[in-house]
């Protein structure tokens, strides 16, 4: 099987070109929603002080913050600034947007990446074990466990893990990026990472397990698998060289679609474990109608989805010759 580098290159180029109008539409949509939002950014800016702030000061603030301008005007200003690399200033955090994002995005990626990575490995192993002997005791146990975990709310599982490992057993810290007051070192962060990442891995495993199991079972039921077995190819080899590549594209597509969760999917886990990621910042930005920060986060999120699906499709095309490349 010869990878089709050229066809895949064309696919990547075409998708990249398409991404530009998609991002434009998404950002226009965001500014439209902000303009239609009933929430008042000046109130959010003032917080509780709104109760002791005169209407004059509120009006002056609205003017300084530029929240009164029309939506077209605000969008144009934003596009011009963004084109020069200036993402604007976050009203909620009183800090440049680029700093708000760079302060937090890395921690979110670390947590979600580790969680999803471990979850993926776990899912592949368990999914394969389950698929090899369909309806065997192992398959039933794995499927039942996956369905059970899938039905548990993530907040609940997080608090349960926090209580068990941090409070009862005392083997993990009860939250934060480092021990309070300690500098950010690899040793500290790793010690604080394993529990929330572990919870996230457990939470992301169920669907991946069920999907891996299903894809593999379908592939194993195909004629060419039976043919290969009949020719005397060892079952292990059949699984790895025949069934797995056939099952991979569907699995990769699913993964690609879940890539945005790297950024936003862990909000609740970040909350339970006091993890300083981008999740809490997104929620605050949305409630406070912090346009600059929202725009940056939305565009980043959209780009992550586009990139994720592109990566998945490209990989799928590379590993499976039957996959078409858009055209």
């Amino acid at each position: 099987m010869r990878p089709r580098w050229r066809a895949v290159g064309v696919l990547v180029a075409r998708r990249m070109a398409l991404a530009v109008p998609v991002l434009v539409v998404v950002s226009v949509g965001l500014f439209g929603l902000v303009a239609a939002s009933p929430f008042d950014p000046v109130r959010a800016y003032l917080g509780d002080r709104v109760m002791v702030t005169s209407q004059d000061t509120r009006d002056a603030l609205a003017e300084r913050l530029g929240t009164e301008a029309g939506f077209g005007e605000r969008w144009l200003t934003w596009v011009q600034a963004t084109a020069t690399g200036d993402l604007g200033t976050s009203l909620v955090f009183r800090q440049p947007v680029a700093e708000v994002v760079s302060d937090r995005l890395g921690w979110s990626l670390l947590l979600s990446g580790t969680g999803l990575g471990v979850g993926l490995l776990l899912a592949l192993v368990l999914g394969t074990l389950a698929a090899v002997r369909p309806d065997g005791p192992l398959d039933r146990a794995i499927s039942t466990a996956a369905a059970t975990v899938e039905s548990v709310p993530s907040f609940f599982l997080g608090l349960l893990a926090l209580w068990l490992f941090a409070v009862v057993l005392g083997v993990a810290p009860a939250g934060g990026l480092t021990d309070p007051g300690e500098p950010v070192t690899a040793e500290q962060v790793l010690r604080h990472l394993w529990l929330p990442a572990g919870v996230l891995a457990v939470l992301s495993t169920p669907w991946l397990v069920l999907f891996a199991r299903q894809s593999l079972r379908l592939a194993l039921a195909d004629d060419y698998v039976a043919g290969a077995l009949a020719r005397g190819v060892s079952p292990r080899r059949v699984l790895l060289t025949h069934a797995a590549p056939a099952a991979a594209p569907g699995f990769l597509a699913l993964l690609g679609a879940r890539l945005p969760e790297l950024v936003t999917g862990a909000i609740l886990i970040e909350t339970v474990f006091s993890w300083p990621g981008v999740g809490a910042a997104s929620v605050r930005a949305a409630l406070a109608v912090d346009v600059s920060l929202l725009a940056a986060l939305t565009v980043l999120g959209t780009a992550a989805v586009l990139l994720g699906t592109l990566l998945a499709d490209a990989l799928a095309a590379l590993v499976d010759p039957r996959v078409a490349t858009d055209g």
Partner: protein, 530 residues
């Protein structure tokens, strides 16, 4: 299955697991010597810039202010060498500054920095949220390096209360145009007892003692504020021994009541909750209805039920903890029978559905509350129950603030604020007729000449006894003609580990607490006991 069940289990188990030498533990005071402290808070400040509204009432740790507040909230000199007295016409306050104060970057703090700080707050192009606090101030002038003159528009006796704002360095901030994006907001340069070491956004803020502090370096250092937004998670971190102190809701703090080495502290506040009753409403516009509802509400039951005991009844806008100004004779007793009599006498007669009406007007009203604020929601529901018992039909409606604001002139609203520092603060704007209908200032358009007079007297009475009399009169007049149903003062609840001397000095707290207000308001005076 209830989440609460597991959480309760977590807390019970947590208590037995608390151990000062826990392997994951933070610093323990018991070790003696120069000690750090880890304080668990629910949120971090948005910024640490005084001119944008950070810690206007002192206790800012990183900054010094002209005056500071003692435990009893009286003003004391800090950067100023004495508490300034007004000139004879009440229009100027002259402040003498210490000449030995330097910012954390080594530059001296002079009168120019003080002038820069206050002028920036007044600058309309900055639109500081604090501008309203200084509306009485016309200009600030540096007479020499250590003398600043504040000139007022009109006499305003409580003005020195506004001199607790942190002073910022002109040499760092001069020429700033983008105040929301300036690096100073997160890397402040102050002259206070502590300096900022690090701020990991969303995780922690670390301060260390300013070794060169003019008033002596604090003993407790470093100070770490660990941000944990979720109350349950913060309680778990306290149980795990990671925190030396934490802000917690009363119901979660109860679990630590009998834990060795920890104390649960309840602190009085001036933060009250009540129902604003609009004057233009056909039912609440009637004095008899307002008086009757005022007698019908069971404040004690609300403190016990809604607040889990962490509060006290409110009868007016001056907190009982402000002993100098509180008027105990304005307290009322819960008396539903008298309430019914008042309503009947005023012509509100019971109909078939147990709701009163007069001249075809049904005794019904809507009480709005901000959705998501459970204390306000439960207070609204408690008022609805009490009102129904005397024949007034109250509907509660949880809304966003944006939906509430346009309706405040015609529908009742659960409101709250309150300042511990001066009885003029907030009350003037809330109850003086000159502020009628101006946003959150007197939204119900309450207009009572006797109340106006008392508030004006309080602003101009220079002599202490005359001020006390004015505010005593204010409370009596508000009780006779209630603009609000004042319901409860809140208490803030904390868990603090043993072994800190200075942690028991109580100060009445404002609404905002955590990073500044709290048992640690005077942290620079604390020391670890061996």
């Amino acid at each position: 299955m209830g989440l609460g069940l597991v959480l309760t289990a977590a807390l019970v188990a947590g208590c037995s697991a608390t151990d000062p030498d826990a392997p994951t533990g933070g610093s323990s005071a018991a070790a003696g010597g120069s000690e750090g402290i880890v304080i668990g808070v629910g949120s971090e400040p948005d910024h640490l810039n005084p001119v944008l509204g950070y810690a206007p009432d002192g206790a800012s740790r990183v900054f010094d202010s002209l005056l500071v507040r003692e435990a009893d909230l009286s003003l004391a000199p800090s950067l100023a060498t004495s508490v300034p007295e007004p000139s004879d016409d009440g229009l100027t306050y002259t402040v003498e500054l210490r000449d030995d104060v330097v910012f954390h970057d080594g530059e001296p703090l002079t009168a120019d920095d003080v002038v820069f700080t206050y002028e920036t707050v007044l600058d309309p192009s900055v639109a500081s949220p604090l501008a309203g606090d200084l509306e009485a101030l016309a200009e600030v002038v540096a007479l020499d390096d250590t003398t600043v003159e504040f000139r007022l528009e009109q006499p305003y006796v409580p003005f020195p209360e506004r001199l607790t704002l942190g002073v910022v360095p002109e040499h760092v901030l001069a020429g700033t145009t983008d105040w929301d994006g300036v690096a100073f907001n997160r890397e402040p340069v102050g002259s206070g007892p502590y300096r900022l070491v690090s701020w990991t956004a969303g995780d922690s803020i670390v301060l260390e003692a300013n070794a060169d502090y003019w008033d002596g370096a604090p003993e407790v250092t470093p100070v770490t504020f660990a941000t944990t937004g979720d109350d349950q998670a913060r309680a778990a971190r306290m149980s795990a021994g990671e925190l030396d102190a934490a802000v917690l809701p009363a119901r979660l703090a109860e679990q630590f009541e009998d834990v060795e080495g920890l104390q649960v502290q309840r602190r009085a506040t001036a933060d009250y909750r009540g129902i604003m009753l609009p004057q233009e409403h056909p039912v609440t516009g009637d004095l008899a209805v307002r008086q009757a509802l005022d007698l019908a509400v069971d404040r004690e039951a609300m403190v016990d039920g809604v607040l889990a005991g962490a509060g006290e009844p409110a009868y007016g806008p001056v907190a009982p903890s402000l002993a100098d100004f509180y008027e105990p004779t304005a307290e009322r007793t819960h008396d539903p029978a008298a309430a019914e009599q008042l309503l009947t006498d005023a012509g509100w007669v019971l109909g078939e559905d147990d709701v009163r009406s007069r001249d075809g007007v049904r005794a019904e009203l809507t009480v709005m509350y901000p959705a998501g604020d459970t204390v306000r929601e439960q207070l609204a529901l408690a008022v609805a129950t009490d009102a129904r018992a005397v024949g007034v039909d109250v509907t509660v409606d949880g809304l966003s603030w944006e939906a509430i604001e346009p309706r405040m002139g015609t529908d009742a609203l659960v409101m709250g604020f309150g300042s511990p520092y001066d009885p003029d603060f907030v009350s003037y704007q809330l109850f003086h007729s000159s502020y009628a209908g101006q946003g959150f200032f007197n939204p119900g358009s309450y207009d009572n000449p006797a109340v106006d007079q008392a508030l004006d007297d309080g602003r101009t009475a220079v002599e202490g006894a005359a001020r006390q009399e004015a505010y005593s009169r204010l409370q009596t007049e508000l009780a006779a003609d209630p603009p609000w149903l004042f319901l409860t003062y809140l208490e803030h609840v904390y868990v603090v580990s043993d072994g800190w001397s200075g942690s028991d000095v109580e100060q009445v707290e404002p609404h905002d607490h955590g990073f500044n207000a709290g048992p640690w308001w005077n942290l620079q005076d604390w020391s670890a006991q061996g």
